[in-house]
């Protein structure tokens, strides 16, 4: 049953490698990491609120801080920042900012 043996051997090897990589990732993420604490310290010190991932427009650079209608504000006829802008909701921020005046309590 040579073929079955070969197939199982290859699959066990590949699966072990995959599980090993997944397990390694899980271990790296869950273990307390010096570099993670350093990044947290940096965020705390500078008061950062967003990742510096997409710097092409205000609302893509700081999506959590963006205005409600940030898209197209750069220039009246400015085209959309595709693909980034096309897939960010105009108002990605959730609940607190839309609290109605009458609901608030002093």
């Amino acid at each position: 049953m040579v073929r079955s043996f070969c197939y199982f051997s290859v699959m066990i090897l590949l699966s072990a490698l995959l599980i090993g990589l997944l397990g390694y990732g899980d271990q790296v993420v869950s273990a307390p990491s010096g570099s993670r604490q350093q990044r947290e310290a940096l965020v705390r010190a500078l008061g950062l609120t967003d990742l510096a991932l997409c710097s092409e427009a205000r609302y893509t650079r700081n999506p959590t801080q963006a205005d409600l209608f940030s898209a197209f504000q750069d220039y009246p006829g400015a085209f959309e920042h595709f693909p980034t802008g096309a897939i960010i909701l105009p108002d990605p921020v959730g609940f607190t900012s839309r609290v109605l005046f009458r609901q608030a309590r002093p």
């Binding site: 990732g25 693909p83 607190t96």
Partner: protein, 385 residues
């Protein structure tokens, strides 16, 4: 068990007989799964990075909104907010965007007040005078100058301003600082012509997380032209952002997967004359319907499981070893300064299981269902046809 292994042996032999076709099928299927898997792994890792790093973001950020647009906020609002119980500190933040026409990139300029102490991810130090700055690694690479060199920018009055670079953020912090230029607060006010009584927004420290939502409502009540943004909302944004962001890429990859399924279904539903004849012969020789279907099951499982394992391995290597070169252009969009980052290999097992389910089960169905009718027919009828 022995019977299963023998049928598997026959199935592998049958697959190997058409090795070119089946190996091509595995290759294409693996590529599709690798594309899909890469999207899932990259967006999940980015999300995790955001959620862990930004867990130290300010508890509340208060903006001012006028006419639906973000406006500068009076620093005097800080006193009103600081008076609310539960608030321990209110820090005016002065920051903004700067477009440099030379490198055609947007920079984020950030002003700092008192020095926060030593930062491990900073090579050098933070600026202490108006003529100093600290820059992100992306800015250093784009402009050229390094530590102790001079960075030249054009301020809001179109004046040429020079800053000595006293600190460069380490590449390990690129995801957070890639396009940053940190100046002292007086320097940034001068740069953006922001009056001393105004700020971009206010960072509010609230030690008790259970009070944040209530305080946000109180701030909104007392200062109706403000817009409080909590840390939870910041994290929620990134939680949903990469789902949306990956949604586009996922749509592309899903379209590819769907096309592949259509091809596979087309192949499977038009069960070939040779396959029908083979099934007829096996049944005539004493194979039961269940044995034939078991063979088809193994055939589908071998191909789809092999493709899944190879595809996911390729996705992991593509994203975490090679930093996803095929996907980052899509995420980068129009950004000129895109951070070169190394992600933690964080994987969501639920997503992996869903991917496995979506890739293996449909293919099994595609392989077994069309053969069912033939396998269930009398062998004489099959061979006669």
């Amino acid at each position: 068990m022995r019977r299963q292994l023998k049928i598997l042996e026959y199935t592998l032999s049958s697959l190997w007989r058409r090795k070119f076709k089946n190996l091509s099928l595995i290759a294409v299927y693996s590529l599709t799964i690798a594309a899909l898997g890469s999207v899932l792994l990259l967006t999940h890792a980015l999300k995790q990075e955001a959620l862990t790093s930004l867990s130290a973001a300010p508890e509340l950020v208060v903006q001012r909104v006028a006419g639906g647009r973000h406006e500068l906020i009076p620093v005097s609002y800080a006193a009103t907010i600081a008076a609310l119980p539960g608030v321990t500190a209110v820090t005016p933040r002065v920051w903004g965007y700067f477009y440099d026409s030379l490198i055609k990139a947007n920079l984020t300029l950030l002003g700092i007040g008192e020095e926060p102490g030593r930062l491990e991810l900073l090579d050098g130090r933070l600026p202490t005078t108006e003529q100093e700055c600290a820059i992100g690694d992306g800015v250093r690479q784009a402009f050229g100058p390094g530590l102790n060199d001079v960075l030249v920018l054009e301020d809001s009055g179109s004046r040429r301003v020079e800053y000595r670079i006293v600190g460069v953020f380490a590449s390990a912090s690129n995801l957070l600082t890639n396009d940053l230029v940190v100046l002292t607060e007086p320097a940034i006010r001068k740069f953006f012509l922001i009056a001393p009584g105004m700020a971009t927004d206010l960072a509010v420290a609230v030690p008790n997380p259970r009070e944040i939502k209530t305080l946000a409502k109180k701030i909104k009540y007392h200062l109706p032209d403000t817009r409080p943004i909590s840390r939870a909302e910041i994290l929620h944004t990134y939680d949903s952002l990469f789902n949306w962001r990956s949604g586009m890429l996922l749509a592309v990859a899903a379209a590819a997967l769907l096309a592949f399924c259509i091809l596979a279904w087309d192949k499977a539903t038009g069960i070939s004359v040779e396959e029908k004849q083979e099934i007829g012969i096996l049944k005539a020789l004493g194979w039961e319907t269940a044995d034939v279907l078991t063979s088809k099951f193994w055939e589908g499982l071998v191909i789809s499981l092999t493709a899944f394992v190879i595809g996911l391995l390729a996705a992991w290597i593509h994203v975490f070893l090679f930093k996803a070169p095929a996907l980052t252009p899509l995420l980068k969009g129009w950004s000129v300064l895109f951070p070169d980052f190394q992600l933690n290999p964080s994987v969501d097992l639920y997503q992996v299981c869903v991917l496995a389910f979506l890739t293996i089960i449909p293919y099994l169905a595609c392989t077994m269902v069309p053969a069912w009718k033939t396998a269930d027919s009398d062998p004489e009828q099959v061979m006669r046809n």
